[in-house]
């Protein structure tokens, strides 16, 4: 990544945070000023799913090509996804405290992010229990694919079947997650939201690149020492 891009990402995210906190918020029924969490919580959740997908994608890449480069990228995506899903859990939990009155109450959405955390945890446990590199790469790739096909049951099916208090669940205001596929936000809010999504995705890609490079260098120096 070019230096100017890093600077742009830095300024961009700073601006998004400043505007997100300072800008007067449009009217969203039932959420009010608490809706500012949209600028931070939604990008985190989006990135935790994106990273999960990328981890599986590179995992499949490894299974096809048998190149360790893919495995390193797959593990890197999983590490970052884990961090972002923790952040999504924390931001969501803080919001839940002020909107629902408790940090955690096993809402279907909370269950789904909890399962995502568990899967990431299991993925790392599996990786640390396998010593032979090729075996670790192929088995963890297989596990991430199996996990990826079962997660939609949680993220997409269950919150829609069961009653959820999360915005988008039955009877609560739904600025983003709703069945009609539209966004109910004022134009100004929507711009900040998109800007935030783009900014955090850029940050993620930058982190991903650095971590993947470190992983590759470590792997190469290991090969040279042997």
């Amino acid at each position: 990544m070019k230096t100017w891009m890093k600077i742009v990402i830095g300024i961009w995210i700073t601006a998004v945070i400043a505007i997100g906190l300072a800008m007067p918020i449009g009217y969203i029924p039932g959420l009010g000023a608490k809706a500012r969490i949209i600028y931070f919580h939604v990008p985190m959740s989006w990135l935790s799913v994106l990273a999960f997908f990328m981890s599986m994608w590179y995992g499949i890449g490894y299974l096809r090509k048998k190149d360790m480069k893919y495995d390193i990228k797959s593990a890197t995506a999983a590490e970052l996804g884990f961090v972002f899903s923790i952040l999504a859990t924390i931001t969501g939990s803080i919001w839940a405290k002020f909107s629902w009155g408790s940090f955690w109450n096993w809402d279907p959405r909370e269950t789904s992010i909890f399962v995502l955390l568990l899967i990431y945890g299991a993925y790392f446990a599996l990786r640390s229990a396998l010593e032979i590199e090729e075996r670790r790469a192929s088995l963890s790739a297989v596990y991430s694919v199996v996990a990826f096909v079962t997660v939609p049951f949680f993220v997409f099916i269950m919150p829609r079947i069961m009653f959820s208090l999360h915005p988008g669940g039955g009877g609560s205001p739904a600025p983003i997650l709703n069945s009609s596929g539209k966004m109910y936000m004022e134009a100004s809010m929507r711009y900040v939201f998109y800007a935030s999504l783009i900014g955090f995705t850029g940050l993620y890609l930058w982190l991903f690149q650095i971590r993947a490079k470190i992983g590759l260098l470590n792997y190469n120096s290991l090969l040279e020492n042997e």
């Binding site: 269950t111 088995l139 199996v146």
Partner: protein, 222 residues
């Protein structure tokens, strides 16, 4: 040819199980121990029917976690995995093992449920059809996911602890729907009410079995 090999694997596992009765004996003891712990801790308490439905699946889940990994772990421990790799197609191995594990879990569940119905006074099934369907579909889903995870962990260190850790997040969609369907059957819900749960169980079983067959090559031949 393909099915014949799978049937051969099934009968091989069946006979070696009959010879030692290792899995069945230890599983029966496991169920007895777990059930008695639950009975001790709920003695004198009024356990609500919906809670008893959840407890039933806790027993089934952990019984499965302690018994179903054996099918692949024993092959690795005895060093017979190589022979199987030489002689049989990977998908036949998976199907044979899946058939054996399904059989095992059906027998086991029949015993667990019989023991549970006798010892748990609050667990009275009011909608038998819903309950039987839940057990039939749910057990197969449980067997398919845990057979595949067993294949993965049989190659790893610390197999025993890793197995429930890896299986739980994969099995959770199934567990949530079977517990909900069992609760409905205890509360006397209709078949139509449980339909959503059945759909999830069924699609889950199909998806996991398919993915397992597709990916088993990569696990088995490394």
């Amino acid at each position: 040819m393909f099915m014949k090999a799978a049937a051969a694997i099934l009968s091989k596992d069946f006979y070696s199980e009959l010879r030692t009765r290792y899995a069945l004996n230890s599983l029966i003891m496991f169920v007895v121990v777990t059930l008695s712990i639950i009975l001790f801790s709920t003695a004198g308490e009024a356990v609500s029917p919906s809670l008893s439905a959840g407890i039933l699946w806790i027993i089934i889940f952990f019984a499965a976690m302690s018994g179903l990994s054996r099918c692949f772990v024993s092959e690795e421990e005895r060093g017979t995995a190589m022979t199987l790799q030489l002689w049989v197609k990977p998908s036949s191995v998976l199907l044979g093992k899946l058939a054996f594990n399904s059989l095992l879990i059906y027998v086991l569940n029949a015993m667990i449920i019989a023991a549970y119905l006798v010892t748990m006074p609050s667990f009275v099934v009011k909608a038998p059809l819903v309950f039987i369907l839940t057990i039939l579909i749910g057990s197969f889903g449980l067997a398919s996911a845990s057979t595949f995870i067993a294949a993965i962990i049989s190659k790893a260190n610390s197999k025993g602890t890793l197995y429930p850790v890896l299986s739980f997040p994969i099995l959770l969609p199934l567990l949530v729907s079977v517990i909900d369907a069992t609760r409905l059957s205890v509360e006397g819900g209709s078949l139509a009410e449980a339909m959503g749960d059945f759909k999830i169980m069924f699609s889950y079983s199909v998806v996991v079995t398919t993915v397992a067959i597709v990916l088993f090559d990569f696990v088995w031949r490394d």
